[in-house]
């Protein structure tokens, strides 16, 4: 079985993202970029399935400009067999990403597509579900445990009501949550090995993906800040303050 892993590059989660003064976007110049943490978890899980003999090949896919290649090398250094770079200078939204992934899915015929449940830049939480719909296959979102059993998978999902277990027929789309695993660290020899692994580049424009149904983003702004309150000296003062406000 082949596993396709979506591997997005995002602003690192430690960066305090700033809005440009004219509200036209966020500041990206000189800002540290990293793999989306959820995608690293998806990749880690795919690699573990390969190590268990469940999967035979793990392919990472990234969509973005030419400078995405070092990022994809990261995925190869973590252990993916090869990478696909869908090249475009445009920012892509979830529906377009899902349509691109579907094209790759049709060509690669994976048994599983693994994605992060969301990317920490636009926080959309849509792509996996959209791909599953377009592909007409099962989806298991927010996965915190995954077992492949023959032609099906059992997935434990972290949902608001607790932990839900689904059984899905393969092929399918699984989007992963934070507690599925802890991604491995990349070691120096892995970086050397990754240099000789193949990255195939495909022009997005050559895929024949429909477009024109994008949301247009007109304005970016920082949220209203909560103002700093007061420090109380002890529990008695705290309780007094809360009582005065009718909160306890």
């Amino acid at each position: 079985m082949k596993i396709l892993v979506g591997y997005k590059r995002v602003i690192d989660y430690n960066v305090r993202v700033q809005v440009k003064p004219d509200g036209s976007g966020v500041v990206t110049d000189g800002v540290k970029l990293s793999p989306n943490p959820f995608d690293e978890i998806a990749l880690e899980e795919a690699l573990r399935l390969r190590e268990k003999g469940v999967a035979s090949e793990v392919v990472v896919i990234g969509i973005g400009p030419a400078d995405l290649q070092p990022h994809l090398r990261n995925g190869l250094a973590m252990g993916a067999n090869r990478a696909i770079h869908v090249s475009t200078g445009d920012a892509v939204q979830p529906l377009t990403v899902a349509r691109v992934l579907l094209k790759i899915v049709e060509r690669e015929q994976p048994g599983l597509v693994m994605l992060g449940k969301q990317a920490i830049d636009d926080d959309s939480n849509q792509t996996g579900q959209m791909l599953a719909a377009l592909w007409d296959r099962p989806q298991a979102t927010f996965a915190s445990k995954l077992d492949v059993i023959g032609t099906t998978a059992q997935v434990v999902r972290e949902i608001d009501a607790g932990l839900e277990t689904l059984e899905i027929d393969l092929p399918a789309v699984v989007t992963v949550d934070l507690r599925l695993n802890e991604p491995r660290f990349i070691k120096l020899p892995d970086i050397m090995k990754a240099k000789s692994k193949p990255i195939e580049t495909i022009e997005l424009a050559s895929l024949g993906v429909e477009s024109g149904d994008h949301l247009t983003a007109s304005h970016f702004a920082p949220p209203l800040k909560r103002s700093k309150g007061v420090m109380v000296k002890d529990v008695a003062e705290l309780v007094e303050a809360l009582r005065t406000k009718g909160l306890v």
């Binding site: 830049d121 959309s124 959209m130 607790g162 277990t165 059984e167 024109g212 420090m231």
Partner: protein, 313 residues
């Protein structure tokens, strides 16, 4: 005129209050408001939905396949109704997040996530970058608006004294069998529900163990509060995952939020920024949680929380 369809979220015969929050959002958009209840046994959920102020009609789609809220089963039923509507809304709970993108893709339209403000019938504000940035987005003309509604941004619609009409509808779309429900391990709790509670007490990594979390439960019980946690406390196994508050957990807006031994990482703060009053108890006076707390108390939680419990007796 806008015609809005809200997908009801319900579980074990109870309408999730997030549905009533979607109704308030729908009223900000303006237009007629229908609520769709997909269920195996629709009572008493349909009645609860029909009793919400601002709802014009409840559609009840009864089917044995609707016993569990599977996106693969629900989505084609909703997509089949979409041509009669300008807007499709669901709460951005795990239910709506799972479902609405699947509906949108079936319809070939983009989806708006976590709608927090309405600037026009197709213009909305939503958070990105863990809530560090708010973006205004517009849905192209001629496309149905498919959106999830950020519950913490909208108050619940009140109950009405009259019931909106309830219509049974039948769906003739083929439903898939490739996705099967196996089990739900719910944290059945006597305590108030974290997402709708007016008071919440949360514990962080500082609690150090599941046993020590008893302090948090005790304080919560004194206050009639729900219990939440930071990701670190969940990851360490002190409490179950459905208690996580934050960017990747629950986004909540209680009147009172008490953070105990939580540093205040941006991903946690995202989950509480709409809380009425925030109280922080932390031994580190420099902890970032104090930058957003209305009342901050510096000290050791193992001394202060028992005092707090005592004071509530």
């Amino acid at each position: 005129m806008n015609k809005i369809l809200i997908i009801a979220e319900h579980h074990a015969g109870q309408l999730n209050p997030a549905t009533a929050r979607c109704v308030t959002c729908a009223q900000a958009i303006g237009g007629s408001v229908d609520v769709l209840v997909l269920a195996a046994t629709p009572e008493p959920v349909v009645r609860a939905a029909a009793a919400l102020q601002g709802v014009n009609r409840v559609l009840s789609a009864t089917h044995e396949a609707n016993l569990h809220a599977l996106a693969a089963t629900f989505a084609p039923q909703i997509a089949a109704l979409a041509p009669g509507y300008t807007h499709l809304l669901a709460p951005s709970t795990t239910f709506g997040k799972d479902l609405m993108p699947r509906v949108a893709a079936l319809l070939g339209v983009a989806q708006v996530s976590d709608l927090m403000q309405v600037d026009g019938p197709r213009t909305f504000v939503r958070p990105i970058y863990a809530g560090n940035v708010l973006v205004t987005v517009k849905v192209p003309e001629g496309h149905v608006v498919a959106a999830t509604v950020r519950p913490a941004s909208w108050p619940e619609a009140a109950a009405s004294s009259t019931l909106a009409p309830i219509e049974a509808i039948e769906s003739h779309v083929a439903l898939p069998t490739h996705t099967r429900f196996v089990a739900l391990e719910g944290a059945s709790s006597e305590r108030p529900d974290l997402q709708s509670a007016q008071r919440v007490v949360s514990g962080g990594r500082a609690l150090g163990s599941g046993e020590n979390f008893k302090l948090i439960y005790d304080l919560a019980d004194r206050l009639g509060a729900a219990v939440g946690a930071s990701r670190a406390a969940v990851d360490a196994g002190y409490v179950p995952s459905d208690m996580q508050v934050g960017q990747t957990g629950k986004i909540i807006a209680p009147q009172l939020y008490i953070a105990v031994g939580i540093s205040g990482a941006i991903q946690h703060l995202t989950g509480i920024k709409d809380a009425g009053t925030i109280v922080a108890i932390n031994k580190d006076a420099e902890a970032p949680i104090f930058d957003v707390a209305d009342y901050g108390l510096v000290g050791d939680l193992f001394k202060l929380v028992p005092e707090f419990i005592q004071a509530m007796n």
